[in-house]
Symmetry: C2
Subunit: 370 residues, 2 copies
Amino acid sequence: MTEVFEERTRRCQQRLQAVDADGVVCFPSTNLYYLSGFREEPGERHLLLFVPAAGDPAFVAPEMYDEQLAEESWVADVRTWSDGDDPLDLVRDVAADLDLAGGRLLLDDRMWALFTQDLRAALPDAGFGLASEVLEPLRTRKDDAEVAALRRAAAVADDVSVAVRELGADAVGMTEAELAREIESRLADAGGEEPAFETIVGAGPNGAKPHHGHGDREIEPGDPVVLDFGAFVDGYPGDQTRTVVFDGSPPEEFDRAHRAVREALRAGIEAVEPGVTAESVDRAAREVVESYGYGERFVHRTGHGVGLDVHEGPYIVEGNETELEPGMVFSVEPGVYLPGEFGVRIEDLVVVTGDGCERLNDSPRTWQPL
Amino acid sequence: MTEVFEERTRRCQQRLQAVDADGVVCFPSTNLYYLSGFREEPGERHLLLFVPAAGDPAFVAPEMYDEQLAEESWVADVRTWSDGDDPLDLVRDVAADLDLAGGRLLLDDRMWALFTQDLRAALPDAGFGLASEVLEPLRTRKDDAEVAALRRAAAVADDVSVAVRELGADAVGMTEAELAREIESRLADAGGEEPAFETIVGAGPNGAKPHHGHGDREIEPGDPVVLDFGAFVDGYPGDQTRTVVFDGSPPEEFDRAHRAVREALRAGIEAVEPGVTAESVDRAAREVVESYGYGERFVHRTGHGVGLDVHEGPYIVEGNETELEPGMVFSVEPGVYLPGEFGVRIEDLVVVTGDGCERLNDSPRTWQPL
């Protein structure tokens, strides 16, 4: 198990040399896990992984992580500090030992300003870029074990989608928050580790706010309800959206908007194959929505990569000329949002294959009660 | 409700002027919520709040947040960009309009490097510091509504602590993960919004790793179990730790270690009053642990501030000469960790009052079954 993390670090080092950078500095994030095997939430204490372009990496970490780092990471060089010490003394030592003090250092894209400011102060002769320059090309191409985990996470989301839709008229009268809790409980029962993001239950006009989570609104008969959720399985997230009606008749325009989004989803997915650009998938989906006259109501990109992070490259957006490659996994999730009325979004994850793509989700995409 | 956020912004502006800084730039974080009333998770899209030292603040935000920002924030100047646009065009416009382009800008301490690098590129004549320089003195002094929310969150954690301990021998044979899920379910039933952090259930030797979350280990008779959990209530977290034995006889040394920690907790809390330094509270607790011969086993600071963030200032640590003031809320949580054997940590939250402090937690601190 340890080997996969060391192999990734060695590939990262090859890329560092190729782009003429001297090192990567990670802080607790999925990048740090991807390279070291150690997983932790971001925090206010200096916990940094220095990966030089050649040689072995080193941790600067709080003393109380000593045992966990030894157990969970393959990185042998761990330098610890105690609460009350100045961790920057260790930062300067490591930078000197790894020959990074005057180099071009690529910072974890999610490193807090708290630490980037400190690194700039401690290493005044260094230059700074972003770690995604070398890590995104590695992370976007999933290996078989990663795709298998994503497939399991998708199956959990699909199972819960079907089960929740079978509530039918019983969901009417529940608040969005109650239904969200029900979904999260079922995700856990189905084998999910924890929700991959704030579960979205957007009923009626709340569905028109793409990033509405869930609130106190009670689901009414005829409400279109946007259901967007997923859970981690073996560290990889599910992320799936359906827009459904639990009972009663939806607003007049809803069926047509739903059809537009469903067709846009299909067109987007059909456009996926190795060698095409990310933006061409966005265009394929957007053209369908535009043909229905809803172009102005599709207010976001068509999708995002999914891996250790729920949102990562490749972003399926105008302007992204990244060419798709086998092993890339991303969402295709067109939407139409009519403020004050309702929203529609339908989302599947796909993995790029040798000659097209495989859908990871297969639960029903129609809006009618199951 | 809106007024409190605008008032905070005006106080922030007074402090900016006092420290000779030109503005604060927040990204989705508790700082952004504290000033604007808008709450969102960090994400990869540019969503930035610019607060100049004088005049009105402005948002740069993705188009799809338009409706939510209008509803949830008092900030009227919202400039939106669409997926596929370059948000840095708006950043440059806002910086010019608010006279920030050549100023000293204080960045949200948790802003991702992804955005700090962009701001540095877009505003090459600006200088950069950290927003905590002006916001920490404001945020550490809680107003009455904030203390009331923290009190409710503490009561939820206390109630669940008692209920879980009443499992007694029924907890034996559960895995740490199962017990964690049970705790989180009870927190939700008791009115918690969501867990404030990864619930810690550290049984036997796992308790000796201060940042162990929960794993597959089954709780055995006689296992000391570290239980550290809390949930948000009205946006403010609970954070409480007890170390207990559900059934059977613990290791021989355990009772003495537990007594050392309990006495250290009491000594720490007794040291709290307005005007004393944060580090003096750390010393008061540490001296007790040292007197038992466990000084080397108390591997972390004594506590941390608690507010919109579970970890914030004031940190109760050697070297922090911040003087305590009424309205500050923080944890006192001494611990003793014997690798390979067990750990003990006991944690209460306190709020500094006019002449001492009030404990927010009051559930039993002993280890014996209730």
